[in-house]
Amino acid sequence: MNCIIIDDEETARVIIQQLCSQVDKLNVVQDFPNAIQAIKFLNKEEVDLIFLDIHMPDFTGFDFIDTLKNPPKIILTTSDKDFALEAFEYDCIIDYLVKPITLPRFIKAIQKAESTPAVSPSAASVEQATATSSAEENELYINIDRRLIKINIPTINLIEAKGDYVLIKTEKQNYTVHSTLKKVEEKLPDDLFLKVHRSYIINIKKIIDIEDNSVLIAKDVIPVSRSNRPELMKRLNML
């Protein structure tokens, strides 16, 4: 089985490589310190199995899975036991390994992977996501995994640029879409949203507080560029 490893911790990647080397049938094609690099790789290559860390900064393992059109078999690797329930919601996830991973437990997961039928005929590929909107109705549709997902615009907290992707954070969920901040900005109502930094658009109504050159939105501290600060201050209803 051709596999890849995605984990932001080098120690974890080296350990999984070592475990793979002790199982004849496994061939580690490549490992990645983040999900974005892996997505680019999967645009060109097919794999049979992915060892995927859930807890990564910016782009979680579940965010990654949501971008895959035909996900291959996935074994989650994590230091958290709490995500097990969420993992069961994905057909492609065949096992859940808690770090530090032992060889006997690893082998058991591989046996499970071998005995589980392939999730889809082809291996992983990534849907080019696009966004369409219906501004009049306060709705933004994003295309993820061939599904058009409706987002209620006022529930968006912020949008963050991440290379070729944008991360849309709403009150309840985060979405990663292949798009640019500029394209998303065009779809959002000006009265509600403001670009405060080259990598961030925020929902002004969601601001909790402002301190120097940053704003707090939900649990995120967002930088405010010096050039964008006057416009932000202008838009606030201040005493």
Partner: protein, 106 residues
């Protein structure tokens, strides 16, 4: 704290390969120092959610080095930080110091 770090897990994983053992210890030592610095930076800045993420990462190394009670302390500390409760800080620091000292002896 009665627990002491050990290399049992790493040696089992290495399966007799001294090269792998040395390679892994070098990576752990480097990453641990980076993660510890980031932890203190965030903790001192009272950025408890970010500190919880640092603890989350360090937790893996605590487990690898054979701490059992220490691992649970890290789990509880991480959860506490998410709730703005840093009360297990002192206990956690003892584990970090123990690991730091241990890695220097290798």
């Amino acid at each position: 704290m009665n627990e002491a770090p050990n290399l049992v897990y790493i040696k089992e994983l290495a399966d007799g390969s001294k090269d792998f053992e040395q390679k892994l210890i070098a990576i752990i030592t480097r990453e641990f120092a980076e993660e510890k610095n980031e932890f203190f930076e965030n903790y001192n800045g009272k950025l408890y959610l970010k500190t919880a993420e640092n603890v989350h990462k360090i937790k893996h190394k605590i487990g690898m080095l054979g701490f059992e009670k220490g691992y649970q302390t890290a789990v509880d500390f991480e959860e506490g930080l998410k709730e703005n409760d840093p009360s297990l800080y002192s206990k956690f620091i003892l584990i970090l110091e123990s690991i730091e000292h241990f890695l220097k002896t290798l």
